[in-house]
Amino acid sequence: MTETQAAAEAVSTARPSLLEARDLHVEFASRGRRARAVDGVNLAIGEGEIVALVGESGCGKTTLARTLLGLERPTSGEVRYDGAALDYGSRALKAYRRQVQLVLQDPTGSLNPRHTVYEAVAEGPRIHGLPDEREVVTEALSRAGLRPPDRFFLRYPHELSGGQRQRVVIAGALALNPKVLVADEPVASLDASVRGEILALLLRLREELGLSALVVTHDLGLAWNIADRVAVMYLGRIVESGPVEQVLTAPRHPYTQALMSVLPESPERVVLTGEPPDPTRIPGGCRFHARCQVLASGKAAEAGVDGKCRSELLDVLPAVPGAQAACHYAEVAG
């Protein structure tokens, strides 16, 4: 076991929670219907903890992340930071956004092509009126692994590689000295060889600065690479969560099992059929039942829970660190 691993495991138990979603609902109007993009979520991110939020496209990951950042208002429920409910007043929100920083996917799209690296990283500190701008930018670039920093000051995005651009985006977030990073698909558009470098950077920032992170991804390998805990989302709800070692080696929810089974090299594949979920039409009973392989194979019926699967709603999972799954079958099958 490496030092990083030992350190990570020591802190993974019972950290005080820093950022929290409580019974969070976020709805959008969509062609005359209500899209329940986030439909009852409890999730806590501890100090110095890295949580991976995984699931197919359209299941509400980005909406949940944006709501945690205060960019989207919950329809009901609340976001809590450092023990208090989020204040949506413009001043309070501005202060909050210094603490909890967004790292966007697709660094090409999130950098202004006409701004130099220096200007890109200095933008946040300027908005927040931080002193010693040059020092702040230098330090942030250096922490993000762009060294020596002054060699990058005057470069434009098109003069950088994809990995370097992603580092600039991360440096921009670090310049405000945040406590939490929310990274939405941070490596999805990067090459295989760069991917590991950026992930290692996130781990190092946690180690050096005690940063917490919520990493949104559909890549389970990424969760295995860097996260302490994982939350699996399906159609607006977290359906399984817990320590990465447990959830990703012995998944209990059929949806997690299906996601795991399509990884290359997994022995038996469960390729779910059908469309990505539609949050304007969340099925009754278990929201996964129309695509559930355990129900379709008759295993749920054998266990006597098929009726429940189709008609009985499942409780919203609480924000606890231990492993848990919202599934009638998992409840009886253990």
């Binding site: 490496t2 990083t4 691993q5 990570a8 197919e56 496209s57 590689s161 994809g162 990995g163 370097q164 090459d191 295989a192 060889s193 760069v194 991917r195 590991g196 470098e197 950026i198 992930l199 290692a200 781990l203 559909h218 890549d219 389970l220 390998g221 969760a223 295995w224 690479n225 860097i226 990465v244 070692e245 990703l248 080696t249 299906a258 996601l259 795991m260 399509v262 990884l263 290359p264 090299e265 594949r269 390729v271 779910l272 059929t273 469309e275 990505p276």
Partner: protein
């Protein structure tokens, strides 16, 4: 006989500021019914290689070497013959299906077009063929009347595959067919591609930077770096026991979930891919290579044998195999 044979293929783009050697002396063969994966970072020359096979390169590209498709040289082929080959023998499925479809035409018409244009079917028969093709890629026949925006990303990729299958080609070239797709949709599309290869005996060249995906679908893998082939061998061997340090780095980038070695230990490769206009001397990989020797900066590397049907362009391979 092999279906496809590349002999010392090179492609150089000529641009205002000079020459871009995008593919540099690639030789390989593809047997009929076999599936070959081509891996490498962006810029390594994968798409250029794919486009050269069907002569889809821009006019400012200079092509050298030989490309034999079923014994015929593609590079010197007449245009009329080339057009026929493009539909009847080899089709290409491009990266990002979103861009490959015309947004204002129904997908049925788009699938039928090549059949009609090449006189392979009358309108009635073409309609039946479209339904058959949609069925083969797992879409209902009524989807023929849909417009691209009414389909999900995965469904659009299926339509692209249906188009590629239209004229019953013997070879399909799939350039990053699943890169922008979600895990589950990716699995659906890969399953489809595997079935087509197995059931219809179609040969496949699949391009990706994800070795785990390639090794899942393909029998053999070819790894490219800076326009060169740096390793070529059986998929499982290249993925699990790569002999070139660059292939090892690519393979390690996608961890096996459950493997304690990669837990909280992401592996990357430092440095940036080289600019093709300023390639390092010796082994092009030497500035980024974790196991480089002094001689690597000047040594001429070539593919050396690294086991049965396996070769790698690294001095360590040369020395190890040479010593045996």
């Amino acid at each position: 006989m092999s279906l496809l044979e590349l002999d010392d293929l090179s492609v150089t783009y000529r641009i205002a500021s000079g020459e871009v050697p995008a593919v540099r002396g690639v030789s390989l063969t593809l047997d009929s019914g076999a599936a070959l994966g081509v891996a490498g970072e962006s810029g390594s020359g994968k798409s250029t290689l794919a486009m050269a096979l069907l002569r889809l390169l821009p006019r400012d590209a200079r092509v050298g070497g030989r490309i034999l498709l079923d014994g015929e040289d593609v590079i010197t082929m007449k245009w009329g013959r080339m057009r026929a080959v493009r539909w009847a023998e080899a089709s290409i499925v491009f990266q990002g299906a979103q861009h490959g479809l015309n947004p204002v035409r129904r997908i049925g018409d788009q699938i039928a077009e090549p059949l009609l244009v090449h006189g392979l079917a009358k309108p009635d028969a073409a309609r039946r063929r479209v339904a058959e093709l949609l069925d083969q890629v797992g879409l209902p026949a009524w989807r023929a009347r849909s417009y691209p925006h009414e389909l999900s990303g995965g469904q659009r990729q299926r339509v692209m595959i249906a188009m590629a299958l239209g004229c019953k080609p013997r070879l399909i070239i799939a350039d990053e067919p699943t890169t922008a797709l979600d895990v589950m949709v990716q699995a659906q599309v890969l399953t489809l591609i595997k079935e087509l290869v197995a059931e219809q005996g179609i040969s496949l060249i699949m391009i990706s930077h994800d070795l785990s995906v390639l090794s899942d679908v393909c029998d053999r893998l070819a790894v490219m770096y800076a326009g060169r082939l740096v390793e070529h061998g059986p998929s499982a061997e290249v993925f699990h026991d790569a002999r070139h340090p660059y292939s090892r780095a690519l393979a390690a980038a996608f961890p096996t979930v459950g493997d304690p070695v990669s837990r909280l230990a992401p592996k990357g490769l430092g440095g940036d891919p080289p600019d093709p206009m300023r390639l390092p001397g010796g082994c092009s990989f030497h500035p980024r290579c974790p196991v480089a020797l002094d001689e690597c900066a000047t040594l001429d590397v070539e593919l050396w044998p690294a086991g049965e049907h396996h070769s790698a362009a690294c001095v360590h391979v040369k020395e190890r195999e040479g010593a045996q």
